[in-house]
């Protein structure tokens, strides 16, 4: 597990400007230092331009680790990872082309920033050092607030908003630099069912209308399955399926009747059998 991505023999057939294949992963393994077992094992993964994918899997299955690797926060122990054709830690100016919304906000809820301030943060990288935010950027921020139904909260302190409103503000922030890839890490945790449905609808529209490639980590398969085109299940290894293959009416019915755990367990049993058979 000491082979780094640079001298790994696995290669990716990346071509063009990298935008055609926003994410390409081959042979990715990752183990935290001193961990007895790897968190991620031999993952092959690819996300094409315009795709809308749900990444599901049990807690501790490696979803957040996988995202941290895509964002360049962790280095793979083995394998190759390319985002827009580049190693994540060397994305440089292409960072602005990734919109990211985390599951849990890491900010102090009493921080003196308004919703508009937070959304404008999304344009800081593009604006560059020493420059002020342009009027056009402010106009765009207000349009995004309108789109996500938080236009009247422009001057409200971010920490005073409900969790759902905060998440909408963070998505608007992520959309400020017109990203080509949106990574959402369990964005609906803590939002009620009706709110979730509305939220996913808005996300789906971003994919359909603006063509943004979206990867959404979620536990709410019942809600998300109606919108996404592909579903991947991550539990150490990645199991990739088209929606029709994995989420048929029967499965959806099971999920809708709150048998998500049973469904996941069944799915994981298949995965373990698959590994035991040595395929």
């Amino acid at each position: 597990m000491d082979t780094n991505s640079e001298n790994c023999s696995i290669e990716l057939a990346t071509s063009g400007d990298g935008f055609e294949k926003p994410i390409e992963v081959a042979g990715l393994s990752f183990a935290y230092p001193q961990a007895l077992t790897p968190t991620l094992l031999n993952i092959d993964f690819e996300l094409s331009k315009g795709a809308f994918l749900a990444l599901i899997g049990p807690n501790g299955g490696g979803k957040t680790t996988f995202i941290k690797i895509l964002l360049g926060e962790l280095e793979p122990t083995e394998g190759v990872v390319r985002v827009f054709g580049r190693v994540p830690s060397e994305l440089n100016e292409l960072r602005a082309k990734i919109g990211y919304v985390s599951q849990k906000a890491h900010f102090d809820q009493s921080f003196p920033a308004s919703a508009l301030d937070v959304i404008l943060m999304g344009s800081y990288f593009e604006t560059g050092l020493f420059k002020r935010i342009s009027r056009a950027k402010k106009k765009r921020a207000r349009e995004l607030m309108e789109r996500f139904g938080i236009a009247d909260l422009e001057n409200a302190q971010i920490g005073k908003l409900s969790y759902g409103q905060q998440q909408r503000a963070f998505i608007a922030r992520a959309l400020m630099p017109s990203p080509k890839l949106l990574i959402l890490d369990e964005p609906t945790v803590g939002i009620d069912t009706d709110g979730q449905a509305l939220f996913y609808e808005k996300i789906a529209r971003l994919n359909h209308e603006l063509g943004i490639t979206i990867m959404i980590v979620s536990h709410d398969i019942a809600q998300i399955a109606e919108h996404v085109e592909e579903i991947a299940c991550l539990y150490k290894t990645m199991h990739w399926h088209s929606k029709s293959e994995l989420v048929n009416e029967e499965v959806l019915k099971k999920i809708r009747s709150c048998e998500l755990d049973a469904y996941l367990k069944e799915h994981l049993r298949h995965i373990e059998e698959f590994h035991r058979s040595g395929k």
């Binding site: 102090d108 003196p112 301030d117 800081y124 990288f125 050092l129």
Partner: protein, 281 residues
């Protein structure tokens, strides 16, 4: 009214009073602005660590240049270098998770003070001026001090203006700022360097022991009064400057130490702000 005139007359008559007045304003403004960042980024303990470490720098400078010409400037320069070094070491040790941040601060702060005590002991002469660095001596601020604190204050404020939005984002959510492509490692060290500069500016006015109050109270008071970052900066600056002037005026008339008086005035303002917030709630 008579006493007010005598205060104003003293400003016209004595250079040391003019220097004290100017130093109070410059330090009041610079510390207040930094205090907003200290409060929102929760750097109060780092501020205290760097300021106490400054004792090592002051003692080293007094040991090296005890009888030399231009000792004021040399003390400022050596203290600045010492504080920058300690700030960098705290930043380096805590950022790489080598040791926890509070442990790093506790260690460097104590080691610097221990080194300072040794340097002072090695001087073999009267060490009375050390007290002016420990507790501040605004009336002892020289023209050279005024020149050096003005240059450092302009540098600090210039850097804050230049990196305003980046530091704002960094303070809000460091992880998100990193993912968004901002140079957060650089911003982390930049904030520590700004803190070190500001502490060096303030030592002669308020003293090593009390400077951490200047770096917290105006920001904490402003946070009680506003939920807007920019308004917090304005409020903190107004409070910091006003408290410096009131403190200086009061200490002049009551013949009590000015640094400590300013801190007590700042605390009174904080208490009033808390009362105001409670009454409004």
């Amino acid at each position: 009214m008579t006493s007010q005139i005598s205060f104003l007359e003293s400003l016209q008559t004595f250079e040391f009073m003019r220097n004290a007045f100017l130093a109070g304003i410059i330090v009041g403004v610079t510390c207040s602005i930094l205090s907003v960042y200290v409060v929102v980024k929760r750097l109060a303990f780092i501020g205290q660590g760097i300021s106490h470490s400054a004792f090592g720098g002051v003692a080293l400078a007094l040991f090296l240049f005890q009888d030399s010409v231009g000792a004021d400037l040399k003390v400022n320069i050596v203290t600045l270098i010492f504080c920058l070094l300690v700030a960098a070491l705290i930043g380096w040790a805590s950022r790489g998770r080598r040791i926890s941040e509070d442990s790093a601060i506790g260690i460097f702060f104590a080691v610097s003070m221990a080194a300072g005590v040794i340097f002072i002991a090695m001087r073999h002469r009267y060490t009375g001026e050390v007290f002016s660095y420990l507790f501040g001596d605004i009336l002892g601020v020289s023209s050279v001090d005024i020149a050096s604190i003005t240059i450092l204050a302009v540098l600090v404020l210039g850097v804050i203006i230049a990196f305003f939005k980046e530091i704002f984002f960094f303070c809000f959510d460091e992880r998100l700022a990193t993912i968004s492509g901002l140079p957060t490692r650089f911003l982390h060290y930049l904030l520590l360097i700004l803190l070190a500069f500001t502490i060096v500016i303030s030592i002669k006015v308020v003293g090593i022991i009390l400077v951490s109050a200047f770096l917290v109270i105006p920001g904490a008071t402003a946070k009680l009064l506003s939920a807007s970052f920019k308004k917090m900066l304005v409020i903190a600056t107004a409070l910091g400057t006003t408290s410096s002037l009131i403190g200086l005026y009061a200490s002049y008339h009551l013949d009590i130490p000015s640094g400590a008086t300013i801190v007590l005035v700042q605390f009174a303002m904080l208490a009033l702000a808390m009362l105001y917030k409670r009454l409004r709630a």
